[in-house]
């Protein structure tokens, strides 16, 4: 009996230490020394088998988007470089923080909101090495110290063409005009998140000149938002906004262009008013203390290639960020390319830098207004 007791105790202690080891270990491996070849980096290219034996994890938001990224860039990169690349997701900022704080980073390349990436540069994210990443084909100013764009899209005004087709809303002023355009309208309303969109639209609708938007006049914006509050519906996820459009529950939606595209493709009777659309980007970034930053950046460099970007656009409808990318799209898909000059010229300029500096404060103000 005594023996059994001892053995039991031994097993228990052993399993406990195993658990602890699993919880605490894994962070010690030193970054493998890798040779990415000589000469300047060229986007979309990685030296054959340069990363044999390297494990990387790519993290994005799931759905059609991540599948597109995987098929267009990540899997071909793994094949070419010899690296093993795992897919994980969805991107969760709290998880990035937990990994960095505990110095046990398992995510190597993370697809994030570009404003968040700018705000976390040097905090949770590390500077990128532009000797490994070739940013020459990325439009001027979009690649920052800690991130490169992953794709571009926009916050657009989608409207029900059955209802407003004869006299479509011309911009955000009409979005806020419930007398001329009666009906429910949906806007993003996630209490944990505030991004360019509702405030800018409200201010423009209230008569603020587009080039004088920043710093945002929050009291004025919320006052304008209050005027339509009774007609507002808040969506919290892209899927929800698309569902609102497809079911026809609302007559206008302020939504991401990719979701508007998917909803219209699924039979939603909506059209997009491109006037005053607001550009948005996702970014690719490398968390601080990532185990193999060189390999992670080689993956980013590969992702930026013209071919990869064209394929990503064909698979997801998001616009490419390589100026040489030539995606082949149908008519609807082409109409959603925010990189086309006739669309690009109608955009409202969003000050990402201002947002990066003020986002935490904006989230609090936005949450307060939502909950108020």
């Amino acid at each position: 009996m005594l023996n059994i007791t001892k053995r039991l105790a031994g097993t228990a202690v052993a399993s406990a230490s195993l658990l602890l080891a699993a919880a605490c270990g894994g962070g010690a491996a030193a970054p493998a020394d890798i040779d990415l070849g000589s000469g300047p980096a060229k986007s979309g290219v990685v030296k054959k088998d340069a990363l044999k034996g390297v494990n990387l994890t790519f993290v994005s938001y799931g759905g059609v988007y991540q599948k597109g990224q995987q098929d267009a860039a990540i899997d071909p990169f793994a094949k070419e470089s010899g690296a093993q690349v795992l897919q994980d997701g969805p991107t969760d900022y709290a998880k990035v923080k937990a990994q960095v704080d505990s110095a046990n980073v398992t995510w190597d390349v993370v697809d994030t909101d570009s404003i968040w990436a700018a705000a976390q540069c040097g905090k949770l994210l590390q500077p990128l090495d532009y000797k490994i990443i070739d940013k020459s084909k990325v439009p001027e100013g979009l690649a920052t110290e800690c991130s490169v764009p992953a794709m571009q899209y926009g916050m657009v005004l989608a409207y029900n063409k059955n209802k407003f087709g004869a006299n479509p809303p011309q911009g955000w002023a009409d979005f806020f005009d419930t007398a001329k355009f009666p009906g429910k309208r949906a806007i993003p309303g996630n209490p944990g998140d505030s991004a360019p969109g509702p405030f800018e639209a409200a201010l423009v609708a209230d008569g603020v000149a587009p080039d004088k938007l920043y710093p945002l006049d929050v009291p004025r914006a919320t006052k304008k938002l209050d005027t339509v509050r009774a007609d507002l519906v808040f969506w919290k996820t892209g899927a929800e906004s698309q569902q609102l459009l497809e079911s026809g529950e609302v007559d206008m939606v302020m939504m991401w262009s990719g979701r508007a595209y998917a909803g219209i493709k699924n039979g939603g009777t909506f059209d997009v008013q491109w006037n005053q659309w607001m550009p948005i980007m996702d970014s690719l970034a490398v968390p601080k203390n990532a185990k193999n930053p060189k390999a992670a950046m080689a993956m980013i460099n590969y992702y930026l290639g013209a071919q990869q970007q064209a394929k990503l656009t064909e698979l997801t409808s998001y616009s490419p960020i390589n100026t040489d990318a030539k995606p082949k799209l149908d008519e609807l898909g082409t109409s959603f390319l925010t990189t086309r000059p006739e669309v690009a010229d109608k955009r409202l300029t969003v000050d990402d830098k201002w947002w990066a500096e003020n986002q935490p404060e904006m989230i609090e103000k936005w949450s307060a207004w939502l909950g108020g």
Partner: protein, 275 residues
């Protein structure tokens, strides 16, 4: 003697270790962060109690949990009673009706409610066909309560049924044979004996409702967020873990206080019934 007790104690050791690693340790780290992140002190609590919006959310959380418990009790009590008097076949059907949703994923059921409750959804279409509505159900507190009641009802029905099935129904006949009106007999003889089931069910439902996240997030509007959603905002959106921790501590403290309060009142009423 000593050996005999040591054996069983060791058998629960793995469970204790699992609890320690996966429950106590995270709980403690939440407590610590509430008092230390970003700086040691009571700053996070001062922030929580200083913001009007937080008090509103806290009040809304408790009132939602209260309504969910009340509606669930009102629906479950007759249901559980019916289960005790039904024949074996009807009882099997009634039990199955409670258990099947219980076995279905909470996410799936919540999404089903999204489809049912939306303005162009099944409920409003059916009401429209008979000339009523449409009613705003989704993105309202009513919608949240409807969804949560359905999700939590098994936790009310099952303890009620467990207690009710143990009540000797002949006591009711005895009371009526002694001249009590059937309603009076039910209220004075049957209901008091079912109270342990009522309290167990109410406690489980109320406490589960306090911490609900997915259902209010999907069925409710962000304008009537509950505390778990606000915790999510602080932890995931703002990365302010200290504040999130403080909110968790407040919720935990209030929940424990509720349990204590209920335990005390139950002991009192229990004494009254038996004494």
């Amino acid at each position: 003697m000593k050996e005999r007790t040591a054996g069983p104690a060791l058998l629960i050791l793995p469970a204790l270790i699992a609890l320690g690693v996966f429950f106590l340790y995270p709980l403690l780290s939440m407590l610590v962060s509430a008092f230390t992140d970003p700086e040691p002190g009571l700053g996070n609590f001062a922030w929580f109690f200083g913001e009007q919006a937080n008090m509103q959310v806290l009040g809304r959380t408790f009132s939602t949990a209260f309504w969910v418990t009340l509606v669930a009790l009102a629906l479950s009590y007759p249901y559980a009673y019916a289960m005790t008097i039904a024949g074996p076949r009807a009882k099997a059907v009634l039990t199955l009706l409670v258990l099947v949703p219980f076995w279905t994923s909470l996410m799936v059921r919540t999404f089903a409610w999204v489809i049912l409750l939306q303005d162009t959804g099944v409920i409003n279409k059916a009401l429209g066909a008979i000339g009523m509505g449409p009613f705003s159900l989704i993105r309202t507190q009513t919608g949240v309560v409807i969804g949560m009641v359905q999700l939590l009802m098994p936790f009310m029905v099952l303890p009620l049924y467990a207690v009710m099935s143990g009540i000797d129904r002949r006591l009711l006949s005895a009371a009526t044979s002694l001249g009590a009106h059937p309603v009076k007999a039910f209220l004075q003889v049957y209901v008091p004996q079912s109270l342990p089931g009522v309290s167990a069910g109410c406690l489980t439902v109320f406490i589960s409702a306090l911490g609900f996240y997915v259902t209010p997030a999907l069925l409710g509007s962000p304008t009537d967020a509950l505390i778990s959603q606000q915790i999510f905002t602080q932890v995931n959106g703002l990365l302010k873990w200290g504040r999130g921790g403080a909110m968790g501590v407040v919720l935990l403290g209030l929940t424990l206080a509720m349990i204590a309060l209920l335990a005390v009142t139950l002991r009192r009423t229990g004494r009254k019934v038996t004494g």
